[in-house]
């Protein structure tokens, strides 16, 4: 584990951790959103368990989104991206490393935290399991679609705001399938949501490095 790919991956993970927490922050944001919603909605556990899947999935997507605009922007602004582009890695490999780093520092921790938050919402064991599995399958898609958005908005000095506008509509299927899996589990239906989510996720992850690399190329030429 010391090739160029690994070194880029580990640097990105280290930077995520150094810029104040990395995983910890996405987690904290996720947990905060999950706490604020019951504060606003009220403490009726029956009601909460019914909205848990949806709210937690939306919360996870937003938490992952939060750190997305730093995926390329920082490296672009300070010239690191120039140097990375000249390295032996192809831009596709760079995009893959960054996708992976983002998932490892947000998607995965979010998934691991989700059972705890499910508890706060009074989600049943089956619902919790469905939430966990759907997040595990679905968060790579969030990182993948997000990475495209991040590379598209690269040359905008403060593109962070456009990012959600571009990314969230594209992620609607992930939310629908993910939350659908949870509600399916609650109603003891097997509705195929997980299968659809997997398909969406695989397609997104396969497509993303190419699209992102094309966008980065575009922006380096600017």
């Amino acid at each position: 584990m010391s090739g160029p790919f690994a070194s880029l991956l580990s640097r990105d993970l280290r930077l995520a951790a150094r810029s104040g927490g990395g995983a910890a922050l996405a987690l904290a944001f996720f947990a905060l959103v999950a706490t604020l919603v019951p504060l606003g909605v009220g403490s009726d556990l029956h009601l909460l368990s019914r909205i848990a899947g949806g709210v937690l999935w939306v919360g996870a997507v937003l938490a992952a989104l939060l750190s997305l605009d730093r995926l390329y922007q920082g490296d672009f602004d300070d010239g690191s991206l120039d140097l990375i582009a000249l390295s032996p890695l192809s831009l596709e490999q760079v995009a893959l490393a960054k996708l992976l780093a983002h998932w490892l520092s947000t998607g995965l921790p979010l998934t691991l935290l989700s059972p705890l938050l499910a508890l706060l919402f009074g989600l049943s064991g089956q619902g919790t399991w469905a939430l966990f599995v759907s997040l595990l399958i679905g968060t790579p898609a969030v990182s993948a679609v997000g990475a495209i958005g991040a590379s598209l908005t690269l040359s905008l000095k403060r593109g962070g705001l456009i990012l959600p506008l571009i990314v969230l509509p594209l992620l609607a299927p992930a939310v629908i399938f993910g939350a659908g899996a949870v509600s399916g589990a609650l109603d003891h239906l097997s509705n195929g949501a997980l299968g659809l989510l997997s398909a969406f996720s695989v397609a997104a992850v396969l497509l993303s490095p190419f699209a992102a690399a094309a966008c980065v190329r575009l922006n380096l030429a600017g």
């Binding site: 594209l170 609607a172 030429a221």
Partner: protein
């Protein structure tokens, strides 16, 4: 100079066509509206059925416009056709406006029909998401100042959106049928309603075409002006 060869041709062609398209749009619109207000009240919906004549065509044009943008984007990315970016860019705000029109007329119709301006029906929801796709696309165009770069970035986004749009639509259908379904009135439309509807659909398409041409023309002119300005800067 080669860069402007194609737009120049377009300017000439559209200049000749535009009055005719505009004229046809106005005539069709007038005829459609006239016929639309002539129709007998529907036994179920009363006079609110006339909303149909503004609603359905708007929705159809809104959906088609995104397809046009995607096709233009493909041309722009693959063949670097200089007109394609301009065409895609010009279509987006029109598409967004027609989408908004479809949403507004639909919800105005929904109030008497369903007792609510909005229900989370599959078709409505996917249409709302289409509006967001338009807005993101427009925002991206406006945010990137460098023309050429904005064009390519927007084209990539449009294509990704085009791939994802059917998935969104499909997932929303799937989502909604899991819960309760809203029954939109379906199926057989009597000829009294059908004809005005078809004429109105034609009118909307002509209207879209006319506005599209005008926007492309102004964009070409603006581009030339900007180019001149920058070259002297």
């Amino acid at each position: 100079m080669f860069r402007y060869a194609n737009p120049a041709m377009f300017m000439r062609l559209s200049g000749a066509l535009l009055p005719w398209v505009c004229g046809a749009a106005v005539i069709a619109l007038a005829a459609g509206l006239y016929l639309g207000f002539q129709v007998p009240p529907d036994y179920q919906q009363g006079m609110t059925v006339t909303i149909m004549f503004v609603h359905v065509p708007a929705a159809i044009v809104a959906e088609s416009a995104y397809g046009l943008i995607a096709i233009a984007s493909l041309f722009s990315l693959v063949w670097r056709h200089p007109l394609a970016d301009t065409a895609a860019r010009a279509a987006a705000p029109l598409g967004a406006v027609f989408t908004a029109l479809g949403l507004i007329t639909g919800s105005l119709w929904g109030r008497p029909m369903w007792g609510a301006y909005w229900v989370w029906d599959a078709r409505l929801t996917s249409f709302l998401l289409l509006l967001f796709l338009y807005l993101g696309y427009i925002a991206l165009w406006n945010a990137i100042e460098d023309e050429a770069r904005a064009a390519r970035a927007a084209a990539i986004l449009a294509l990704i959106g085009a791939v994802n749009l059917p998935i969104i639509k499909f997932s929303v259908d799937w989502w909604n049928t899991l819960h309760q379904g809203e029954s939109i009135l379906s199926g057989k439309i009597a000829p009294v309603f059908l004809w005005p509807l078809l004429i109105m659909a034609l009118a909307y398409m002509l209207l879209f075409a006319a506005l599209w041409m005008v926007r492309i023309r102004t964009e070409i002119v603006n581009r030339r002006a900007r180019g001149l300005m920058q070259r002297t800067a």
